[in-house]
Symmetry: C3
Subunit: 212 residues, 3 copies
């Protein structure tokens, strides 16, 4: 991997981290969290999924390799403070950033699992977890029902990306091309689903009430 | 251990996984989660306790050894979809399955801790955690107060099973007999407590309000 | 370290564990948890932060070294049962105990990270996590928004203590003196902020609503 690749990947990673952190910070602010609370929720959103992946794989959490994730979350906090009047008008841009983060984190999570010798079904699980678990942690911390369990094609996009990566690898496509294809599938599915307001079906409730 | 034992143990494990997953899926459905959300909550209920145990013991999470736990959770999801009209009439069967799961997971959790050289007090902690933490994760994910902290003799049954295993081991009883005795104690305590509607006492509140 | 130091440190550790456990038990009781639920929430409050720290550092969770943390949580439960009529009048004492716990756990968490060769920015993260994450786990388990994200100078005190430790180390101050200075800073900031009712600013909401 030469320098140009590295920079492009770094840029994707920072965009994803920034977008995930912003989403945590905004939701925390909506619950009237203080600065510290907003920072922690932003950080959990950005690094939560990858941290759980690394703990399950038995390796050092990725964000402990260098302070850039904590710094980018701080940048997101300052950005949210300065532009709070304008954030709503940026909704679509932030949504695109978030979709870039989802596709990037999912592909990175899958490849990291494969790198550590895991089979495909674990790799796809780790990819989905890397992309989605941060958002679940965010919603648990702000005491809300996890958004991705009820609305939006979010995890489904990640799963489709994972299957794309597998298919490409099975067809012998070059790894970088496979990764880009998988990331694009996630990005496109996520954006189209949002614009067409497509949701997954819910499990219809048993008569009136359910629960064991 | 010959084949017949193995098969019997496998069957217990699959019954437990299925029952725990069903309980997660039903509660998620009652909160109008979509299919993906219901699957994740079902999976967390089934494997959450064992995963925390394995992370604390510093070993590879058990469900990463093979896809059967994720497959059984998928079976539970399909089952819940097909039989949703009939699940309420199956309440008692599912309750028995759940009690089997609790007793099986608790004994497995204890023995795994002992296998990794942990003392008894950690073993019983790990047993209770294996049996109970999945249900706590389920309730956190659906944004409800954990059921087992407020109602039902659930953890208490697991603790009594743990003490039984210890007593048997102290009396020199054969390990398989000890395990079966411990599992039966958990099963019986759980079923009797449910039928007699026995709860643990609550800590009476300080005057009107509490909290630091 | 000779015996007298060890004993003094042990006493601080037990005071902290007891105070953190009491805070979990009281909040669980206010939510009408049963004894088992109150015990688990008390335990999670007392050991939750250190457990996450140790998992992230890839080492054996500290409370698995010996049963004293589980025993002290049990003592706190019995204490809360016996003195439940009087706990409110002890509020200030318990607050001081809690502040001692925060300062002690934060310093211990920082030093443990440094001991395992981590850089300063991870050390301060681990210190804050050790002091604060147990309280967040407590609030997640009782299904409330984490208190320290909305009210009170809690994490800020821990961060200031961390910076003090760093400053002392940079100035070449003896490690024991540095630790005491850092702990005192945390204690004083926490107590003064509580008495003056100083809170961190919140991120003002974007117009009416926020969230991605």
């Amino acid at each position: 991997m030469h320098l140009a690749d590295l920079q492009f990947i770094d840029i994707l990673e920072y965009i994803g981290t920034f977008a995930f952190a912003i989403s945590g910070i905004r939701m925390a602010s909506a619950k009237r969290f203080d600065w510290f609370g907003a920072y922690v929720v932003g950080l959990a959103t950005a690094i939560g999924g990858g941290t759980i992946r690394d703990l399950l794989l038995g390796i050092k959490p990725f964000w402990m390799e260098g302070p850039s994730y904590m710094v980018w979350t701080a940048v997101a906090l300052v950005f949210a403070l300065i532009f709070r009047q304008h954030l709503r008008r940026m909704n679509y841009t932030l949504f695109i950033f978030d979709a870039i983060g989802l596709s990037f984190f999912t592909v990175v999570g899958m490849q990291k699992a494969l790198l550590f010798g895991q089979p495909f079904w674990i790799s796809i699980t780790m990819g989905v977890m890397t992309g989605c678990a941060g958002g679940v942690m965010r919603d648990v911390l702000i005491n809300e029902v996890p958004l991705i369990f009820k609305k939006e094609i979010y995890a489904t996009a990640a799963i489709l990306g994972g299957l794309t990566l597998r298919l490409c690898s099975w067809l012998g496509v070059h790894v970088v091309v496979s990764e880009i294809a998988a990331a694009l599938i996630i990005l496109i599915v996520r954006i189209v689903a949002m614009q067409k307001q497509i949701d997954l079906p819910i499990l219809k409730q048993e008569d009136e009430e359910a629960g064991l």
